[in-house]
Symmetry: C2
Subunit: 242 residues, 2 copies
């Protein structure tokens, strides 16, 4: 591959790195890294986001982080570890957001689904670049790391399918897919929601919260929720035209 093929991203690489640095400096689960290591990780994140992990060299990362390739190996044992730490952090963050949201919601399947989807979408939209790196690049993890992340992704799916199964049993939801309904519809919801990070524009006209509400409404429809309160209405947060 002679050159990365991605569309030229808006904004500069330096701006992306600065954004990742600010995010990472505030994350408790990255506190064990030290400032230099976090700077390297932020540079890697920005380059992975722009060019993809396989097209990003150690020398690219080191240059963007302001040190030599050799120095990078004082903070990380390999380039693969950089990708692993990034993807793992992304999953840690999303898991925490979901756990917090669903945990503080009511016990009904309806409330749990609303909380789950809202948190899941917002979790993607608050850090769209990190979400994109995780979503695209986890396929390029080393074998063991890949297996570990697949397990974690399946756990997220199973958490949602559990909500759907409970709702189907209680008559709150009418699932499509028969015996496989809970899993199949969980996959539908997750696939639909996770892709938002790829096209969402934080400076666009639709706020992230509005979009999350719309996806909640869409998920409720998908699973055949029997009744929806105004938060799931068809206008879903957009002001009426005119």
């Amino acid at each position: 591959m002679t050159a990365p093929g991605r569309m030229p991203s808006p904004g500069s690489l330096a701006a992306d790195i600065a954004r990742f640095r600010a995010d990472f400096d505030a994350e408790p689960d990255l506190a064990d890294l030290g400032t230099a290591a976090r700077r390297v990780l932020a540079a890697a994140a920005a380059l992975f986001y722009r060019n993809g992990a396989p097209a990003t060299s150690v020398r690219d990362i080191a240059r963007a982080a302001g040190l030599t390739p050799g120095a990078m190996y004082h903070h990380f044992s390999s380039r693969d570890e950089l990708l692993y730490r990034l993807v793992r952090h992304g999953h840690d963050r999303l898991d925490a957001v979901i756990r917090h949201s669903v945990g503080s919601a009511g016990n009904s399947p309806d409330a749990a689904l609303r909380a789950f989807v809202h948190a899941y979408v917002l979790g993607h939209l608050e850090r769209p670049q990190l979400a994109q790196v995780v979503r695209r690049e986890y396929l390029h993890l080393a074998h063991d790391d890949y297996a570990e992340i697949v397990v974690r992704r399946r756990a997220v799916r199973d958490r949602l399918s559990g909500i759907l199964r409970a709702g189907a049993r209680s008559g709150t939801f009418a699932l499509i897919g028969g015996r496989h309904g809970p899993t199949r519809q969980a996959v539908m919801v997750l696939d639909m929601c996770s892709r938002t990070s790829e096209w969402f524009d934080p400076s666009g006209s639709t706020p992230a919260g509005t979009l999350a509400d719309q996806y909640v409404a869409a998920a409720l429809r998908l699973v055949g929720a029997v009744q929806q309160d105004p938060a799931g209405d068809v206008s879903a947060g957009d002001r009426p035209p005119g």
Copy 2:
């Protein structure tokens, strides 16, 4: 990257190449290539599918196709062209399937949506490996090729959003998303459906046609279709239990 990180795929590389070869030999829009070139393209497809395009070298492709690296350049001008031909073919195929299906459906938005979604899902499930290569690797196209493919993908989205807009106007659909409803819900449907190629197992218990029916039913729910005939029922093709 020391090694590709993908999960070991079931079946052998040779089997994947043979499958791609059989598919490509039957495709009219690849008839200009000659048997040797199609063999190279099939080898590239199988390797891109297994390891990702950036992790696949020209030497890997040549070895899998049974010739030397130099010989490959008699059939294709560069490695990038291989990826471009593959992605373009995938889009040609899907466009044809959709055009045929929607064209022979009724004029109502409801019938058009059913035809579109059914063809779109089946198009992914009939060639799941090709669909995955297109979906994952088009990001790594060279700049101009990437821009061209993005335009084509947007055209598919616009075709669907046009159906949704017509349905909303006629009162057949009740869209979520206000002013952006048609586009937003088209994206929801496409994202949900295109991911099926990643997990579908042709030897599994659910036939592709059944799955397509379920996604049609899901899409109808998503866009708030006012009434659904039995083909869109909640059991959607699965036999009742017991």
